[in-house]
């Protein structure tokens, strides 16, 4: 292939020596010569040699002119990738794996360093005028939108971004982004996408047949050459802290709570992993709560539950740490803890019966929620009121309100309840013989516009002999999680309110006839739990079972914890804080980890019911975030998803499959410079310089052949 094919017309010039030769023969001069014997005297070999030399000279001269013309036509070769050299600028998109698995160290060098070197080698293979862009798969920094640039120095600076590897890599998403970048780059010469990653199989989970079809269509449309450069070895020995959670939420001061730590061993041998649990305050470890080894079987998970008691209300972070080989980033798991005073619970009962003992539901509920009678260690401060003691100022002072066996609600009461729940309050509604279903449906359900999560039917009362058992329940729900490892509650339900669920509500427990027993619904910023049976012994013997106390406490904890959004987040999830008073946005500060500056653009404030929600979205960097809203000091922990901890490498079959699926070529064999491998694969190069060199060499040969004394010396 020639870049300047018009110059090939110069090939005709190669005939010039031949024409001159023929002209010279035609125009030769005759010499009448006597000493012919000395011309003929040369033997036949010599004469043939001389003639051969003449033709050789002619051929050399023709070749020189021809090669000169070819050199001027700028010949190029096509490489293995089918791209001709000099056929336009190369547009290269480098997908750089910045997930925290790239932090794996081997031989004193991290995979990230190897990947950066490989990416720079790709840049080295580019020429002035070529364009490049970098797309980070994973990574901590908020990368600007990738765009092809001829400024390879700036691309190199992006590659050498010193921020530590973080997050998880999704090659599938990055591939499509690379195709978008190349599309935006406009029509150019060769298009190349380089994936520089480790051998981790997880990164390629998203690459399946569907993605391959999409990619291949774009690849063929734009003739994109896809190259993968795996870096790092096949090491996959790693143990990771997968989770740290508090099983009992919210955390109430002086109330024992269970912290559960999960450790995953990705190695093929069992490990004895030293585990420590720390309580951190003000960003520093303050108190070691636990230390001891945990045995984790090969390729298995181990869960450890540790009782923890928080004795003050200061913001705290619970930090679990292990000391294991492999990645360092997953050897620690932090969890911010919001310690609060005992929950203030209001029990409103419609049962007007008086008397000592357990006359009605308020007695059972109060005992379940405050068994120590305010002597400390109770979950809640419980207030019991009758309907005529309806709080005139609303329920803002209470975290949870329990309505038990309330006959009916006035419009005002119903609106007060709606405002309370909409503003983030928690409400438990329990049935009973006094309940007027029509009033509930009219005032609270309001054709799915009210807070009641289900339309209620007339009570179904059966004889105790025909009481229904609790057939099934969702033990994954926080309110019923205590039942996950416990035996099923031995309780029977003789009476209940049939319920037809609102579209956005869901049942959490069912009776033997598949009627819902416990229903959850949302309303504004708050949540409502509807128990279709009673909280006393009127319709069920549940208060006498061992499940009553944990059920009620768990329901209250669940609803009470709705006062604050989660503060243990994954990278990319926004920090959200709910405050009661309208905040001044100028006085809100967020301190990201590693001394980074706050990104004001990522901060937003919105009203949610009677409260205000503050949100900060720039959380790509894992670590501790400190949000200060007025006098409030809130700690958030952002952590990378732990599936990157699985360093299991791609098998050779999977590699083969991927390369066929994506029409991908693999480079980066050890012992050979990557830029040379790329150059060899790209292959196409201009040949004008070799042509000129050949012309010079032919010129020297021509001079040597034609020099006068050559024949004598040869003979």
């Amino acid at each position: 292939m020639f870049l300047n094919p018009t110059m090939l017309a110069g090939l005709g010039g190669a005939m010039l020596p031949l024409v001159l030769h023929l002209l010279a023969r035609w125009r030769y001069r005759n010499v009448d010569w006597g000493a012919m014997m000395f011309l003929f005297g040369t033997d036949l070999t010599q004469r043939h040699s001389a003639r051969l030399r003449q033709w050789l000279l002619l051929a050399l001269r023709m070749a020189m002119v021809g090669l000169l013309a070819v050199a001027l036509a700028r010949p190029v070769t096509r490489g293995a990738w089918g791209t001709p050299a000099g056929g336009g600028p190369v547009s290269a998109v480098i997908i750089l794996d910045r997930s925290y698995s790239m932090d794996y160290q081997a031989s004193g060098r991290s995979r990230m360093q190897l990947a950066q070197e490989a990416a720079l080698a790709v840049l080295t293979g580019l020429r002035p005028g070529d364009r490049a862009a970098v797309i980070s798969a994973g990574g901590a920094a908020e990368a600007p939108p990738a765009q092809l640039s001829t400024d390879l120095q700036s691309v190199a600076r992006q590659i050498m971004d010193p921020s530590p590897p973080a997050g998880s890599a999704d090659i599938a998403v990055a591939l499509l982004r690379a195709a978008d970048v190349l599309d935006q780059g406009g029509p150019t010469g060769a298009r190349e996408v380089y994936i520089i990653c480790d051998n981790q199989a997880r990164s390629w989970d998203g690459v399946g047949a569907s993605l391959a079809n999409t990619w291949r269509a774009r690849q063929q449309a734009h003739e994109i050459r896809l190259v993968v450069v795996p870096v790092g070895g096949q090491e996959s020995d790693n143990a990771a802290l997968v989770s740290l959670e508090l099983l009992t939420q919210p955390v109430v001061r002086d109330t024992p709570t269970l912290a559960q730590v999960q450790i995953r061993n990705y190695a093929y041998t069992a490990k004895e992993v030293p585990l420590s649990l720390w309580l951190c305050r003000d960003g520093r470890p303050d108190q070691r709560l636990h230390a001891g080894p945990v045995r984790v079987e090969a390729d298995a998970m181990a869960a450890v539950r540790l009782p923890v008691v928080f004795s003050d209300l200061q913001p705290a972070v619970l930090s679990a740490r292990i000391e294991a080989g492999g990645l360092k980033a997953d050897d620690r798991f932090d969890l911010p803890v919001q310690v609060m005073e005992r929950l203030r619970v209001l029990i409103l009962t419609g049962d007007q019966r008086e008397g000592a003992g357990f006359a009605h539901m308020a007695s059972f509920a109060e005992l379940a929620l405050a068994p120590y009678r305010r002597r400390g260690g109770d979950l809640a401060d419980v207030a019991v009121r009758r309907l005529d003691e309806w709080p005139a100022g609303g329920f803002r002072e209470f975290a949870v309100v329990i309505l038990g066996n309330v006959p009916e609600f006035s419009i005002t009461q119903a609106r007060a309840l709606e405002q309370y729940v909409y503003g983030g309050g928690g409400l438990i509604i329990a049935g009973g013989g006094l309940c007027r279903v029509e009033n509930y449906n009219t005032r609270l359900f309001r054709n799915e516009r009210g807070l009641l999560p289900a339309r209620l039917g007339q009570p179904r009362i059966a004889a105790w002999e025909n009481a229904l058992p609790i057939a099934r329940y969702d033990s994954q729900h926080p309110a019923l999680r205590f039942l996950a490892d416990a035996p099923a509650p031995q309780a029977a339900v003789a009476g209940y309110l049939p319920a037809l669920l609102r579209s956005d509500a869901r049942a959490l427990a069912w009776l033997g006839d598949d009627q819902p027993l416990l229903i959850e619904g949302g309303f504004g910023g708050g949540r409502v739990l509807l128990l279709t049976t009673s909280l006393d012994l009127e319709w069920t013997n549940l208060p006498l079972s061992n499940a009553y106390l944990p059920l009620l406490q768990s329901m209250v904890r669940y609803l009470g914890s709705s006062a604050g959004p989660a503060r243990g987040l994954l990278t990319g999830q926004p920090l959200v804080a709910i405050v009661k008073d309208p905040p001044d946005e100028r006085h809100i500060t967020v301190r990201p980890p590693d001394g980074r500056t706050m990104n004001r653009a990522a901060l937003s404030v919105a009203s949610v019911g009677q409260r205000w929600q503050i949100s900060y979205g720039d959380t790509r960097v894992p670590g501790w975030y400190r949000m200060q809203v007025g006098a409030q000091d809130l700690w958030f922990v952002v952590q990378s998803p732990r599936h990157e901890s699985d360093l299991t490498c791609l098998s050779s079959q999977r590699w083969q499959g991927l390369m066929q699926l994506l029409d991908m070529q693999r480079l980066g064999e050890p012992g050979r410079a990557l830029d040379r491998q790329i150059a060899a694969a790209r292959g196409g190069r201009e040949l004008w310089l070799p042509c000129i060199l050949c012309v010079l060499i032919l010129g020297v040969v021509e001079l040597w052949v034609a020099r006068p004394g050559r024949s004598a010396s040869a003979n």
């Binding site: 030769y28 001069r29 005759n30 010499v31 009448d32 006597g34 014997m37 004598a712």
Partner: protein
């Protein structure tokens, strides 16, 4: 221009006045002269004593020896005779090669004429043989002014063409020469070396003294042509197209080999070899020839271009 001035101009004759043609070996002349002959005769050069035999002339008796020893001895003297010189001139086509300085034939003819003049002036006998493919002309050696005229006339009427048969001509000359003489062969010697060797050997075998005079042109020495040339043989060899730059080396090598062969041949046969290039003045060439010829009393061959003294 008459025949004499064509071959012998006044300046050349003036230069030749002080030169003498001599033979290095014995010659057999027809009259008494300057050169030692093979026979015993009446010259003043004593050769030997011999015992008297019946029939010897008494006047040759050495009376002094008889008086002292009472024995009869006859005194013998060398015969002194004139030089018989045979000039053999090549008339083959290759001698017609001419450049700005003239043709080889002209040069050789003038050389032969001058030599003949010089020899005749010394009262030597001079003959002429013209040859190409065969002996074209044979003038047996004779002395006297008329011989010069005959020689000049023969040169004037010579037809220069055809192939050279030098060897055959020398054989024929050797057969025709009945006495020992000085044979001067003037040619370019562009013929097979073996033929030359055989011819010269024949002459030498018959006791003749030989002088080989190779006349060449500067072009033939150096082959300094440029550009493509078609070389057409002057002796009917056909044409040969060549780039001189390419053929030069081979030509020169072969040319020098041939000359070296001639020289070796002369050395072997006790002849003298002279090379004369036509761009040299004739008087210088002739003086050079005669000096080397007279100095070669020992019979050693002399080579080198005439004029390079």
């Amino acid at each position: 221009m008459n025949t004499v001035s064509r071959y012998l101009d006044a300046a050349l004759l003036e230069h030749l006045k002080h030169l003498q043609l001599t033979a290095c070996s014995v010659v057999q002349g027809s009259v008494s002269g300057l050169h030692r002959g093979p026979l015993k005769g009446a010259s003043v050069e004593f050769r030997q004593h011999r015992a008297y035999a019946a029939g010897d002339e008494l006047r040759r008796m050495d009376w002094r020896v008889l008086g002292r020893t009472d024995r009869h001895f006859i005194k013998e003297y060398d015969e002194e005779t004139n030089l018989r010189c045979m000039l053999m001139l090549d008339c083959s086509g290759s001698m017609t090669y001419a450049t700005r300085s003239g043709s080889k034939w002209d040069y050789a003819a003038r050389l032969v004429a001058a030599t003949a003049f010089l020899a005749l002036q010394q009262n030597e006998s001079v003959g002429l043989s013209l040859f190409s493919g065969k002996l074209d002309l044979w003038l047996k050696p004779a002395h006297g002014p008329a011989q010069l005229w005959r020689i000049l006339d023969a040169l004037d009427r010579a037809r220069i063409s055809g192939p050279s048969a030098l060897g055959q001509a020398m054989h024929q000359a050797a057969e025709r020469l009945d006495r020992r003489c000085l044979v001067i062969v003037v040619s370019d010697f562009f013929c097979p070396l073996e033929q030359c060797r055989q011819g010269l050997a024949h002459l030498r075998h018959d006791g003749h003294e030989m002088v080989i005079l190779q006349v060449t042109d500067r072009d033939e020495e150096e082959f300094a042509f440029t550009g493509w040339r078609r070389f057409r043989g002057l002796e009917g060899e056909g044409a040969y197209l060549a780039e001189p730059a390419l053929a030069r080396a081979v030509y020169q090598k072969t040319f020098l080999q041939h000359r070296r062969g001639l020289l070796d041949c002369c050395r072997l046969l006790n002849g003298q070899f002279q090379n004369v290039v036509t761009d040299r003045p004739l008087d210088q060439a002739l003086r050079h020839l005669l000096l080397h010829q007279s100095a070669g009393v020992s019979g050693a061959p002399t080579t080198g271009e005439a004029g390079q003294e």
